[in-house]
């Protein structure tokens, strides 16, 4: 699996974000480096939600941070608002930041414990001097109300007085303060209770409609992703396995890895017995990835070809693109 290739890119006029051949490396020593993201391409059209799924350590979060230039990019390009984020200087990137915001995995750690909720939510407005102090305070109240936090009760408390779900609401309010075009959610619900997860997902969905957001939704949980996405990108060891619409991905996963992932989603019906596909072994080390298809070491359909040649993404019809030499029927 684990392909490169760009057949899935759509060159429409209203592309918000376009990532091509993105590579992010971390130096381990002077000679060796880990490629956390190796040659990922995708594009994102206005109003879409692209979900990026994959197991822990496959490079999802790195990809999210690299898109926002929060990490140094080794090669490739990230086109956003007409400029290549990887080529322009630091100040130019900073000036684009209000248009692209991020929500983090750990809601409590993403709020500084020393400041009150009101101070935290008004911070982005202060950085960019949006409006007078009064206008900012009105805006903060409005934002807090819209995420279901009562500013009169909660506004002057500190973050550690709130639960994880409440903190995530506050983070969402903060990330929307600058009215961004693009919102990257890095596992926004994985630290939360299941009952709270649904609330936050609904909130994100509401906010998306209200502010006309385009979203990248990073998650390791396929059942969470299904509800929110327009397209799903499955990653394995820094490469793309499959890009598909949720329906075709869940109904007929073409990639063997996707199949295993979809198959592992629990079904809330004990009478239904499904033949489980269980992946053998551990994901290989990204320091020394397998040749050819990176998934071949755990793939039930691997052949000689998979070891020698890296599969390219190909169009399987109905919006499904897969990087596999022997896709499932």
């Amino acid at each position: 699996m684990a392909g490169s290739g760009k057949v899935h890119m759509r060159n429409t006029g209203n592309t918000v974000l376009s990532v091509e051949d993105l590579v992010v490396e971390f130096a381990l020593s002077k000679k060796t480096a880990v490629q956390a993201v190796s040659g990922i391409s995708f594009d994102l059209i206005q109003g879409e939600t692209l979900s990026i799924v994959g197991e822990s350590g496959c490079g999802k979060s790195t990809l999210g941070k690299a898109i926002l230039s929060l990490l140094p990019v080794t090669s490739g390009s990230v086109m956003f608002a007409g400029s290549d984020m990887t080529k322009i200087d630091k100040e130019a990137v900073r000036n684009l930041r209000p248009q692209m915001q991020m929500i983090f995995q750990d809601p409590i750690s993403s709020l500084d414990p020393r400041y009150t909720i009101r101070q935290l939510v008004s911070e982005p407005l202060e950085i960019w001097s949006r409006g007078s102090a009064e206008e900012q305070s009105v805006k903060v109240d409005e934002l807090l109300n819209s995420v279901g936090i009562d500013p009169t009760i909660a506004g002057d408390r500190k973050a550690y007085e709130f639960s994880g779900g409440q903190c995530q609401r506050i983070s969402i309010a903060r990330s929307l303060a600058l009215e961004p075009k693009l919102l990257i959610c890095d596992e926004p619900v994985s630290a939360l209770d299941v009952s709270i997860q649904a609330q936050i997902l609904n909130l994100l969905q509401d906010m998306k409609e209200r502010y006309g957001l385009t979203m990248v939704f990073i998650s390791h949980d396929l059942s969470v992703v299904k509800a929110v996405s327009t397209r799903i990108l499955v990653m394995y060891l820094g490469k793309v396995c499959e890009i598909a619409t949720p329906d075709s991905l869940y109904d007929s996963p073409k990639h063997h890895y996707t199949h295993a992932l979809v198959n592992s989603v629990p079904i809330p019906d004990p009478s239904k017995k499904v033949a489980r596909v269980i992946l053998e072994g551990e994901p290989p080390s990204p320091v020394d990835p397998p040749s050819g298809c990176r998934f071949r070491t755990r793939c039930p359909a691997a052949t000689e070809l998979c070891a020698t040649e890296e599969p390219q993404l190909r169009d399987m019809g109905s919006g499904n693109y897969v990087a596999c030499h022997h896709p499932r029927g």
């Binding site: 983090f104 750690s109 993403s110 414990p113």
Partner: protein, 286 residues
């Protein structure tokens, strides 16, 4: 944290440091025998033996109480100034290098390690020998110059101690997601350091700075004892140095400054601990 909620030991420490600071500020106006006058009629008066000399006198007839009170100012000021300046320089270096990482961090950390590897006493001795000694032994080096050199050497000792604390705390805080969040909102690095790093790192620095004040008082005393500190019994350390030959027949003349010095060091440590425990409870709530 309120004074009332403190334990008895902590309360005593706070009160004792209050008394010491009172001596530092108002010591010279307390109506007592002049510390520099020796009373020929009362040499080696014991503890509580005389109303005129409540803590007794040493074998030269110097009043111990007034000397201890006078000693508070140089001992405390040298310590506070060197910890203040050293702490400021050290934490600035530590915070910036840990936030920026890379080469700067490597250089600063190496420098810290080099300075830390030189014992404080050896460094003090060397600096005083080079900077505050006159080639002609008959000409006295002015006390002010000696004091400045002592402060300088103690500052150099403090910089890496507090610098490493600041560095360590910054390393852990700057990995928190709120720092990444601040960056993603477009905050400049200087603003992030001032708004999000410094306020979180400061409690750790305060706590260790108080411990350092105690350590520096002791180091300054040790330098005096070795004859490179302030001379003539001006500070607590040099009082101890002056009477060290009298331990046999006038032990109280040494015990008094030693007890005062020890109490001050213990009180500083205790105050540092109070601050640290406050820091811990704040961390615990995260």
């Amino acid at each position: 944290m309120k004074f009332k909620q403190l334990g008895i030991f902590s309360k005593a420490s706070v009160i004792w440091l209050g008394i010491v600071m009172f001596m530092v500020v108002f010591g010279q106006w307390i109506p007592l025998p002049k510390p520099t006058n020796f009373d020929i009629d009362a040499m080696g008066v014991g503890l509580f033996d005389s109303l005129k000399h409540p803590l007794g006198t040493d074998s030269n007839g110097y009043d111990l109480l007034s000397n201890v009170i006078r000693g508070a100012r140089p001992s405390m000021l040298i310590s506070l100034i060197s910890v203040g300046i050293g702490g400021l320089i050290g934490s600035t270096l530590g915070i910036i290098s840990a936030y920026k990482r890379g080469k700067l961090d490597y250089i600063v950390n190496t420098l810290f390690n080099i300075v830390l590897s030189v014992p404080a006493l050896v460094l003090g001795l060397a600096l005083v020998a080079v900077l505050a000694t006159n080639p002609d032994p008959n000409i006295e080096v002015p006390t002010s110059r000696r004091v400045i050199v002592i402060i300088l050497s103690l500052t150099i000792v403090i910089i890496p101690i507090l610098g490493r604390i600041a560095r360590g705390a910054t390393l852990s805080w700057s990995n928190r997601e709120f720092v990444v969040a601040a960056r993603s909102m477009g905050m400049k690095d200087s603003q992030i350091i001032m708004k999000h790093i410094v306020p979180n790192v400061l409690p750790a620095i305060y706590a260790v700075a108080f411990l350092a004040i105690g350590v520096v008082i002791v180091v300054e005393g040790s330098l005096s004892l070795l004859g490179v500190g302030i001379v003539d019994g001006v500070s607590w350390g040099s009082m101890i140095a002056r009477v060290r030959g009298d331990l046999e027949y006038a032990p109280h003349s040494m015990i008094v400054p030693v007890v005062v010095l020890a109490l001050t060091v213990i009180a500083c440590n205790q105050l540092g601990d109070i601050l640290r425990s406050q820091l811990d409870s704040r961390e615990g709530r995260l």
